[in-house]
């Protein structure tokens, strides 16, 4: 209610979902402080903020997973007092988390009626179940066969099923937490169409995202959180600029996210010749020079990550050679590659990068400790020193080096993984696969800055990215992959969206149609 006065357009639509004075305090940390805003019926409301700004906490309070210390949520004028996920469901609130809550071995229909199987005396009426589900899916405009098992669906389709679950429950408020983070552009389009449809049915959609383009495209109104406080509330996005929102999120102006710095490339550092593997059947060859940032662009499934895993020795090499500074290296596993000077930050940070449950200190030292341990015994002083140096240098936001890495935000986890490799000695090739996925704007520029510094130091840096603006923004040269082959090579002065996309696409699709779509993704 308080924010009504701040509204730009002066018109005050009926507030349907209201957060008033929400405060959440953890021992030692205030996650949310006195946050109030409201959302009108039939509106898609964006919720933005950097990692750690309090978005997740707010969403968890909405979903009943957490209880606020102070303040309350009001839906359609009725104050809510639920204290569990079930209570939230009963109040008509469904939150769709990044990690989807589906049972892979069950069918779409079974997942949708889970907990409420239509049954007579405990015997499930399969016919009734399918009829019900099919009708609901149809009315929501979701085109998925209810008899398919969840495990056979793509991530995008699974997300549709999650939304269908919300529709089945007749949810009044649907919150989506970073829904497009693992979707392809096409899948995102389908999702957006579905959201439009839900809006027209008068549902309230709370849309949490990092992606400005999506928020501007989709949302009617917007709330920005920063450090657990309300940084801005826009009841309408009319006249609001992207730079303004970025500034609200970060708390300062970021003029140019990329901050590209030209530099001279040196000698050829990495030569990959005819490399083949089980997931990359055609031989691939390329070179990277010292001091160069080499981009690898392509659609999902183009073979970029597979190629990098082969270069790093994470997957078995079936043929081909890898030379560093003209000397062939014959590493058969990551250990060998690290010793030869190649390191990789994987695309899937959670599965392939961080060691959950262990401290930042241990995550940084995991590889480089071999340089300072003697007879297998740790050098504690050096370990602590190394951790402190890189926490400081990379500006990892954490109360202590002893913090469990799983408790850090994505950006800070990425910095720790980078710290792991920077603490290594003799790194000559740094491969970063989707270095800024799920990372907010402020941390992004910090990571780019770091990559430039490393390139200045003479490392060959390979950046794999699905974000075209990122590739064009930071790389000196781009190799485009398509169907497991390198389909184009462009120097920085030749960069053009259309040319890069055309090379990334299999022949059938028209580059223009995708170009406009990729831009929004």
């Amino acid at each position: 209610m308080k924010n009504a006065a701040r509204r730009a357009d002066g018109v005050k639509p009926m507030a349907f979902l209201e957060f008033s004075r929400i405060t959440k305090i953890y021992p030692g940390v205030t996650a949310l402080a006195d946050v109030s805003f409201d959302v009108a019926k039939g509106a898609v409301h964006g919720l933005m903020g950097e990692n750690g700004a309090g978005k997740s906490t707010l969403i968890k309070i909405l979903s009943g997973d957490l209880q606020a210390n102070e303040g309350r949520i009001t839906i359609d004028g009725a104050p809510q007092t639920y204290a569990s996920a079930k209570g939230a469901y009963n109040a008509g609130v469904v939150v769709i988390h990044q990690e989807l809550q589906l049972v892979p071995e069950l069918t779409v229909a079974e997942n949708l009626v889970l907990g409420r199987f239509p049954a007579n005396a405990g015997i499930i009426s399969r016919r009734r179940m399918f009829v019900d589900v099919e009708a609901k899916l149809k009315s929501a405009g979701i085109d998925i066969d209810p008899a398919r098992k969840i495990k056979t669906l793509s991530i995008g389709e699974r997300q549709m099923v999650e939304i269908a679950k919300a529709v089945m429950l007749d949810a009044r408020v649907i919150a989506l937490d970073e829904p497009t983070s693992s979707l392809s552009s096409r899948e995102s389009e389908i999702l957006f169409a579905l959201i439009e449809r839900l809006r027209s049915e008068g549902k309230v959609i709370l849309y949490v995202s990092h992606r400005l383009d999506e928020v501007f495209k989709l949302c009617d109104s917007l709330t920005v959180l920063r450090d657990g406080k309300l940084a801005a509330h826009h009841a309408s996005l009319k006249g609001v600029t992207r730079d303004q929102v970025v500034a609200e999120m970060v708390g300062r102006e970021i003029s140019d996210i990329w901050g590209y710095r030209p530099r001279k490339a040196g000698q050829t550092r990495l030569t990959v010749n005819g490399l083949r593997g089980e997931k990359l059947l055609q031989p691939v060859s390329f070179e990277a020079r010292a001091g160069e940032i080499l981009g690898f662009f392509g659609l999902i499934g183009a073979g970029r990550s597979e190629l990098m895993r082969l270069v790093y020795g994470a997957d078995r090499r079936l043929g081909g050679s890898i030379d560093i500074d003209g000397k062939p290296i014959d590493a058969r596993d990551p250990r060998g590659s690290i010793r030869a000077g190649i390191v990789l930050c994987s695309e899937d940070r959670k599965h392939d990068g961080i060691v959950q449950g262990r401290s930042i200190e241990e995550n940084i030292n995991i590889s480089s400790r071999r340089h300072h341990s003697r007879f297998g015994i740790l050098n504690r002083v050096r370990e602590i020193e190394t951790a402190e140096i890189f926490i400081k240098k990379l500006r990892v936001r954490t109360p202590s080096r002893k913090q469990d890495i799983a408790n850090l935000s994505g950006g800070n986890q990425q910095k720790v993984i980078l710290g792991r490799w920077l603490s290594e000695q003799g790194v000559r090739v740094l491969i970063v696969d989707e270095p800024t996925r799920g990372i907010d704007v402020g941390a992004k520029s910090e990571i780019y800055e770091l990559l430039y510094d490393l390139a200045d130091d003479g490392l060959a840096i390979i950046v794999v990215s699905s974000e075209l603006p990122e590739v064009m923004g930071i790389c000196d040269r781009v190799l485009v992959m398509c169907g497991g082959r390198i389909s184009a090579e462009l120097d920085r002065d030749q960069f053009a969206e259309k040319a890069i996309l055309a090379a990334a696409l299999p022949d059938k699709k028209t580059p223009d149609a995708i170009a406009s779509r990729e831009q929004t993704a």
């Binding site: 596993d333 994987s346 262990r358 030292n365 995991i366 792991r420």
Partner: protein, 316 residues
Amino acid sequence: MTNQLKRLLLGEQGLVVIFVLAFALVSLLVPNFLTERNMLGLFQSVVTVGIVACTMMLCLSARDFDLSVGSTVAFAGMVAVMVSNATGSIAAGLLAALACGAAVGFINGFVIAKFHINALITTLATMQIVRGLALIASDGRAVGINDPNFYQLALSKLFGIPTPIWVLVVLFVISGFVLNRTVFGKNTLAIGGNPEASRLAGVNVDRTRIWIFALQGMVCGIAGVLLASRITSGQPNAAVGLELSVISACVLGGVSLAGGRATMSGVIVGVMIMGIAENAMNLLNIPAFYQYIVRGIILLLAVLLDNLRSSALGRR
């Protein structure tokens, strides 16, 4: 006041606090508990479980599992007795027991790491195979010890404290050091935390896992020799169910079955709580049948407490 109590019990050292409280309580309430004689008896009774728990801790913290320890202890004890009887040399028997234990462990580790077979299944198989070997070697009967000096392994004392207790203490110290201060220990915890990330970070996952199991086997060899010496014979049916007591003690001590989390102090406390419960119940003349129930309840309570603690520490 209640908040402070909560913080103390659910904090990092909560288990140790509870242990100290329980110890004080039992000392006050159970007659004859806090006597030198009973204390030595208490420690003697946890020697086997405690020794094996040292390496079981490593195994569990690497997200692995070893069910074959009970069989290996019995088998190693048999081997020690039979070899020293045959050669007339206790040292030869000792070495043979350690070698056999290590061999069983190595086979476990090799199969698990290289062929990617589930540790539970692999060690369930070797548990039965090794028990079978022990039974075959002895024809199912206890094998008596020829050289009385063999008894001295368990009976001899240093500064008034029996040798097995010294062995236990030394192994506690070594394992704590290995876990916290060596590359091997840190790699073990990292593998338990996230095996694939550890591999990609350059940890030699396969070799570390094989080493863990080989060490586990060797330590079972030590436990087997001491046990054989204490029961004055090689018993093919010794240490049945030991694996469960050891895993219980570790879990009681806060070792996560999901891997990546273990402390030596926790494991020591876990072992001691199990020992004290049994000892106190014996002193109170509670029949053995009831003791199973009490042990089960203690384990459940400990796991509940652990759950409370993780949610109190809270994830943001």
